[in-house]
Symmetry: C2
Subunit: 358 residues, 2 copies
């Protein structure tokens, strides 16, 4: 068995409800496979602002630095969305932890469980076999460039900026991953308009010469947003910047049936950070109806990527699959047209996965 | 009858092939309704660079200023896409004409012809009844903010910037349009991360007080990219910035069955500019298989918006509808599963629409 320190940061909204289940799955795996996982909890986001005035308290960041992996929930609150003038905002916590921990590569695997073929708004024949691995750059771009507001408050700006080394390191990760898959890489940019995208494209083009076994395609973001719906099967590995990655991966959630199914891994300099793609969803927070599977699948990614425990990771994925096969569904993935689906809440669904783990 | 001067700018790639048909439709309407439309042609984009070294020659801009409306095709060429270091680029022509003519509001109506219900990768029951009008801001944002490249060429940036008046004027147009429709407005931004988006949201929120009869929703771009696929019917009028609008409307083309069906109108200070949403599509350029309907529907938008000729505009739309009802299809909208579709090229399809106009 291995010894690992895991920091759990439930965050805001449904983050609280779903992360419980990611953690329970890790605990069960530890017991079943005789690993020693120790857990700590940390606060971040709106809950941290309420408690300390700071969306990412130093204490949380310290704990994060000392951990082997982090399981995160979600961030955000309607209060700030409705008042754009607020200076201290939950999302600053997430952006800061990504930057401080050097989490520059955000991996978002998009794969449909067979059982959910009918849950999507996209036709099953378009979806069947789709399997995409996104590499979203996570610590650069317009997210981290200088932000300005004029004194009269009438002009606002954000700098979209990329450095060569930032593009190169994420592109390398994507090329390497493509090698272990179908050897196709699609790099998404807007090089016909943006200088930052032209740099992006130059860097990826230069790397092509090193990875001659990988077939590379460059696509404009507008076209990519269309192709993702039109023909998701054409994609294998996709690499793109922070902003375009944010947009494309949310859109791609519809390929997996629901946002509630998608996990992500953020890696880089050291510790790995695992989180569902979905947000805090304050409209359904506290109702106990959120889908815990994205958090559970985030735990599976942690086992695989941070701990190298491939069997354990696969075991979790199989348990999710089995749960779906048994007909159990949360609201977001329930198919109205299927009689034999048992629609349940977060906790009941999480419990079913635990049962299937044992 | 009315007297109108129309400038035709076919541009690059399939722009040449399809714009012929937009123009022919305008000529036929002029004859049938006894209007006096006079046509001029202008060059822009790659073809203009080849001919003059300038993607937007002064002559074209002069003609544009003197015209009552402009019918444009498409811009772009693989040569520049493959070489991001080239300084003079086709797209600069399009961006410059948008800026010079003050075309700040780009209207992109997304509506599915019943006949194409099966052509999309999205399920018919999700699409049926979808009807969205996008207002994309067209002369600001990261498209026009300062671009920089360091001397060592290792760092590149584009400034994402918005001024209050820019947001206000496009938002007003969107609010006004919503009033004539289902009275719902969705404003799309990324206010949880971007300062320019926070300004955007503040300005739209301030206008809400003037348009109390319009129900307003603010949505983050990542969520909007997802909702557009998941539930397109939830949208009525959508207003957003230049970059987000570029991405969302291309994605939304899948709601209309194909990119080849979508027209757009750019309006602002004076002259109106009409163009398909699709690009120059150099992969199929010269093959005579491009769909001319987007150009034809752009002509319909011109008749309506620039000339106030509602009946004539409707006549064109009906002719397109009739053509589809007869089973005629270009490749992009052909349904492999339907026997009685006659798949044809650009010219045959255009000719069918002309027949249906008479
Ligand atoms: C909450 C927000 C700052 C975040 C982002 O835009 O990165 C989220 O949408 C995500 O994708 O992780
Ligand atoms: C060709 C390109 C500059 C243009 C844009 O991004 O605006 C196109 O994609 C469009 O949508 O009209």
């Amino acid at each position: 068995g291995v010894d690992k320190k895991i920091l759990v940061i439930p965050g805001d909204g449904i983050g609280q409800e779903v992360t419980t289940w990611g953690r329970k799955v890790l605990e069960t795996i530890a017991t079943n496979y005789k690993h020693n996982f120790t857990f700590e909890e940390g606060i971040m986001g709106h809950v941290a602002i309420e408690a300390t005035g700071n969306p990412l308290p130093d204490e949380t960041l310290d704990k994060a630095r000392k951990s082997d992996a982090i399981l995160f929930g979600a961030i955000g609150h309607a209060k700030y969305d409705n008042d754009p003038t607020l200076k201290v905002r939950p999302e600053q916590g997430l952006l800061k932890i990504r930057k401080e921990l050097g989490l520059y590569a955000n991996l978002r695997p998009i794969k449909l469980f067979d059982e959910l073929l009918e849950a999507s708004s996209i036709k099953p024949e378009i979806l069947r076999g789709a399997d995409i691995l996104f590499f979203r750059e996570l610590t650069g771009d317009v997210y981290f460039g200088e932000k300005k507001r004029t004194e009269d408050r009438n002009t606002a700006s954000d700098l979209m900026i990329y450095h060569k080394y930032e593009v190169e390191r994420i592109a390398r990760k994507a090329f390497e991953a493509a090698r272990t898959r179908r050897k196709k890489l699609c790099s998404v940019d807007k090089a016909n308009v943006l200088e930052a995208s032209r740099l992006w494209r130059e860097v990826v083009q230069a790397l092509e010469k090193e990875y001659t076994d990988v077939e590379v395609e460059h696509m404009f973001i507008d076209n990519a947003a269309m192709q993702l719906v039109k023909d998701p099967k054409r994609f294998d590995v996709v690499v793109t910047g922070n902003l375009f990655g944010d947009i494309l991966t949310d859109e791609a959630s519809q390929i997996a049936g629901s946002m509630g199914m998608l996990a992500s891994a953020s890696v880089g300099d050291s510790v790995g950070f695992y989180e569902p793609i979905h947000g805090s969803a304050h409209d359904i927070a506290g109702k106990g109806i959120a889908n815990p599977l994205a958090s559970i699948l985030s735990a599976a990614l942690m086992l695989d990527i941070s701990f190298g425990l491939k069997n354990e990771s696969l075991r979790v994925i199989k348990a999710v699959e089995a749960t779906l096969k048994q007909g159990f569904r949360t609201m977001d993935i329930a198919n109205k047209h299927t009689e034999n689906h048992l629609v349940m809440g977060t906790d009941a669904m999480g419990a079913k996965v635990l049962e299937n783990l044992s």
